[in-house]
Amino acid sequence: MNLIETRGLCYSYQGEKLALDHLDTAIPEGSITAFLGGNGAGKSTYFLNLNGVLTPDEGTVLFRGEPVDYHKKGIAALRRKVGIVFQDPNDQLFSASVLKDVSYGAYNLKLPEDEVKRRVSLAVKQTGIEEYLHAPTHALSFGQKKRVAIAGVLVMDPEVIILDEPTAGLDPSGVSEILNLMQKIKEENRVTFLIATHDIDLVPLYCDYAYVLDHGRVILSGTPKEIFAQKEILRQHHLRLPRISHLMEILSQKDHLSVSPAASTISQARRTIHEMLKEEKSKR
């Protein structure tokens, strides 16, 4: 079942051209869906519409099949269900106290204090930020701040978490830590993830579905395999293939080897190369 659907979603910032132009999307529950697209393709605007920070000009957002109610109560409920982790944690962490910042979202839900504390300690544990709970926010590194920002969203017990450029500014080990954290949360909390990223190579590794946006419109959608089969369209919209896919594509199309051009991860590539070798052997 689709957890979130948008139908003909339009949004424009004051006096500017359409940032979202009749966007139709469907996000299956329990999936990780990537949103690809150049700078200014409309990814952030789309996310803010899903969370109710922005109200659509036209079209509807459906949550579990129900249209979102944009009155005060409906928006509050939507924000509880859809958490956003922004790209720059400095925009999100408003308090110098890490504990206070993490608890903020739960506190605003007007839960009893015990429940707030329970959720905070759970989120702290899950994101592994115990160590720096007593440090001031400004003394943390970028990657640590990112974790704190994620914990601050987790305490609201959301059904959907949106990560805007989760890997930007992180070193390779930071990248894999954050992405593994995402997978862990997905499994333990049954959360659906939406991520915007420029790092194409991650998509086949971590994502179930992907959308390509440009100028506020959906250009492509489907599984990573389906998306990366459309090399030309991707290039037209400032994207590229994952490097492994690119290699496989060259091997299959230019060199006419019988590898699958759709292999886009290291393990898929390994498998298709083995199959090719087996085939070669059986030929002779």
Binding site: N51, R79, D91, S95, A96, S97, H138
Partner: protein, 259 residues
């Protein structure tokens, strides 16, 4: 810039009830400036400096470095106050005759100046005890429980948080300007600094929108209340406050009865 701030978070007293520490430093501060005595000032400085050195894990050299921050003001201010013009012939501690009068310092003024310096340094010791051992977040937690209006405390917390963000931005921008030789000569310096400040403001203004979106997405409706950190009770500090204040007052009355 954030040296004092970082020391406070690493103090052994960082997680002691801020109220106890505030009481200790404010009461001693009042005693110190109330008495205006050399001995009381010295005692208060000694006690607060000792406590700061021990609990904030500071070397004496670093403490003296911090103590030298207000020294410029102290020196100029005190000289300004106590060097004055006296009629010729009046007995002075030191003086230069100029025309029909003399400029200098009298014994009375000198004593008065010493008294002011001791008081001021004692008071600085009290303030340093507070700021070197109390993370700001602790003070905010205390302010939230005080009758201070909520909006003012929230404003304080936000200002404090974003001081560091903007400071970092400003420092990087200044480095970038330096890398392109932006501060060669006074005219270029003023132009560079001016554009830096303007850009910093513009970026801070733009950041507002993003912070607001992020806060809204977590349910912000004008309030920034959330879970507060828990602090260990600091009952011993009330006792310490009482003892030091009593000793200071004792010295004060003794000194007055002798002099």
């Amino acid at each position: 810039m954030n040296q004092i701030d970082s020391i406070a978070y690493h103090s052994k007293l960082a997680w002691i009830d801020p109220k106890a520490k505030l009481c200790f430093s404010l009461v001693l501060l009042c005693v110190c400036i109330g008495c205006r005595s050399i001995l009381v000032g010295a005692l208060v400085l000694l006690v607060t400096a000792g406590a700061t050195l021990f609990f904030a894990r500071l070397s004496l050299r670093r403490y003296l470095h911090f103590l030298s921050i207000p020294l410029g003001f102290l020196l100029v201010g005190t000289l300004t106050i106590f060097i004055s013009v006296y009629p010729a012939g009046e007995k002075l501690l030191a003086g230069i005759p100029i025309g029909g009068s003399q400029v200098g310092i009298s014994a009375q003024s000198f004593l008065e100046g010493l008294r002011l310096c001791a008081t001021a340094l004692g008071a600085v010791g009290c303030m340093y005890f507070l700021s070197f051992n109390t993370p700001m977040t602790g003070l905010f937690a205390l302010f939230r429980k005080s009758p201070l209006p909520e909006v003012v405390v929230s404003l304080m917390e936000l200002i404090y948080r974003y001081i560091f963000v903007l400071w970092e931005e400003a420092a990087t921008m200044k480095t970038a300007q330096n890398a392109r030789l932006g501060y060669q000569g006074i005219r270029h310096s003023i132009a560079s600094f001016g554009t830096l400040v303007g850009t910093l403001f513009f970026r801070a203004y733009q950041r507002c929108d993003r912070i607001y979106s992020a806060l809204e997405s977590r349910g912000y409706q004008g309030s920034l209340e959330a879970l507060q950190e828990e602090y260990q009770p600091g009952k011993g500090w009330y006792g310490a406050t009482f003892l030091t204040a009593a000793a200071a007052l004792g010295i004060f009355f003794l000194e007055r009865s002798v002099l």
